[in-house]
Amino acid sequence: MKTGDVIQFSAGALSGYPTRTFLMILAMAIGVASVILLTALGEGARRYVTNEFTSLGTYLLIVLPGRSETTGGPPPLLGQTPRDLTLEDALSLTRHSAIRRVAPITVGSAPVSWKHRDREVTVLGSTEALFEIRHLSMAQGKFIPAGDPTRGPAVCVIGYKLKRELFGNQSPLGQWVRIGERRFRVIGELAKKGQSLGLDMGDVVVVPVASAQTLFNTSSLFRILVQANGRDAVPRAKETILTAIRERHEGEDDVTVITQDALLSTFDRILKTMTLSVAGIAAISLSVAGILIMNVMLIAVSQRTSEVGLLKAIGAPNIQIIRLFLAESAILSLIGAGFGVILAFLGTWGLVRVFPRFPFTVPIWALCAAVFVALVTGLVFGVMPARRAAKLDPVQALSRR
């Protein structure tokens, strides 16, 4: 029997029982769609986190005061630090070849007011290096000018949200705002960038680091952001930072250096595992569909006993009977998988409309795997009914009407 004839015969047999065929295709479609959709969700989460990290800046190292054991234990809490990070620590790092940029950061919260409007916002003390390291861009004006970081001119750069709330549609450039007890001249407005790891860059005011230290009456830094000289330089930069700070802190390892790559690869691994396990759970629904196919094919065999008997009487060998029934299961799974793929794409499309910021994508490997698993399921669960059909005794099968 030719392959085309097998397919035609089996497809004909399936269309002879439309309700049953429809239900089986539906079961298979739901199984395939859930595998693809859940994988898309997991993959979307992974890409979302990766994007967030990338927007933090490239080849980034974060220096935190306090020592955290790499073998575990609780993260360093405030007050445990024996020695604060200082502006001098940060400046000492700029002279090394592995390091391209260094941005010291002081963070505090202070009321910002202009005329009668008053807002409590996050005040970020830093240098001009922050602009490049965090990939900021300006809506208007200039960022904090380069210069001696130990001196703090009274200038500030405000986030777009703050600008809107304080100034409305007026230009903020050249205006004097009051931050805490001091007055600063606005020299620029940050462009809209969105959130980056929890800190909304629209709702901040950036001032020179020395000004911030004076403002909050502190000499310590919240952290130091370091940009390495390329991806390969990241480990070298980390070593350099640790050595330099140790020298300055009288031989004590009292800082922690987090590299962005390490964080990123950890999250990447976690989210990949999560995606796979979610896809695995969804695959259970595929096997349920497979059992359904087996069940329904068994019914089909017993309903079509006399047809099988006839096929044997007119000379179909056992292997041919098996092939005919397997072809039916395969056609069912493939059509089901096809509808499942369509369903999954509709679902993804819907999710993208509801959550436009979340990067849902259907990974090609998940698509291929789901269709392949559907076909294998159909064939594996089709074997038993097909063998049962082939084993039928033709005399018995034909003795029924």
């Binding site: 004909g12 044997k312 009487a313 007119i314 000379g315």
Partner: protein, 225 residues
């Protein structure tokens, strides 16, 4: 051409072994017209199934065209059924979802005949049986006589040497029964061996040779050797 020697067939009914056939010796030559008769349970259907290679004897040797069929594998037996034997059943056994033409085409699909030849031969066979206007009808749209004629077209489409008919008129009225028998006899005149199981004495009288079975044995045989 058909030669059975010492054929035995036993069925287990519950714990009891029932001898459907015991020590049957039977020879049919090419082109014969044989009617097999007997009360129900006498083993006539079993005999026909063994001749048609649907059933295997427990003992004895069955030779079909000088080939000892008892030594053949299932696939070889299937191939012989495909090419040498045509079955006509009391309940027609047409595939209900297929049209008349598709039912007749089925044996040729199994035998890998190419599509164009298939279509041509189906049309030829159906029109020679007066069914050329019924090719697209499904079995439930055909009368009993028409269904049996479709079944005969299917049984003969591969040009078999033997036609085995199990009560071919058992489900038909008198007129269409006679019509079906005439068609079968016609095929017999053209050289096909016709073996027919029946318990209608009028029908059996038309056969050149009559075999009477009783309790799994041949009681009388008008053309025996």
């Amino acid at each position: 051409m058909i030669h059975l020697a010492g054929i035995e067939r036993t069925f287990l009914v519950g714990d009891e072994a029932v001898n459907a056939l015991s020590n049957v010796n039977f020879t049919v030559r090419q082109g014969e017209y044989v009617a097999i008769m007997g009360p129900s349970g006498s083993g006539k259907s079993t005999l026909l199934n063994i001749i048609g290679l649907l059933d295997r004897p427990d003992k004895g040797i069955y030779t079909l065209e000088n080939l000892n069929t008892t030594e053949l594998t299932d696939d070889q037996r299937a191939s012989m059924r495909r090419n040498k034997i045509g079955f006509v059943f009391q309940f027609f056994h047409l595939v209900p979802r297929l049209t008349a033409a598709e039912n007749v085409e089925l044996p040729m699909i199994l035998a890998d005949v190419d599509s164009a030849t298939r279509k041509f031969r189906v049309q030829e066979a159906l029109s020679s049986l007066g069914l050329s206007d019924r090719t697209k009808h499904r079995p439930d749209q055909l009368s009993g006589g028409q269904r049996q004629r479709v079944a005969i077209a299917r049984a003969t489409i591969m040009q078999p040497d033997v036609i085995l008919a199990d009560e071919p008129t058992g489900n038909l009225d008198r007129t269409s029964g006679i019509e079906v028998i005439r068609i079968l006899e016609d095929l017999n005149h053209k050289g096909m061996t016709l073996i027919m199981v029946t318990h209608d004495p009028d029908l059996s009288k038309r056969a050149a040779r009559r075999v009477q079975l009783a309790d799994g044995n041949i009681a009388t045989d008008t053309g025996g050797f």
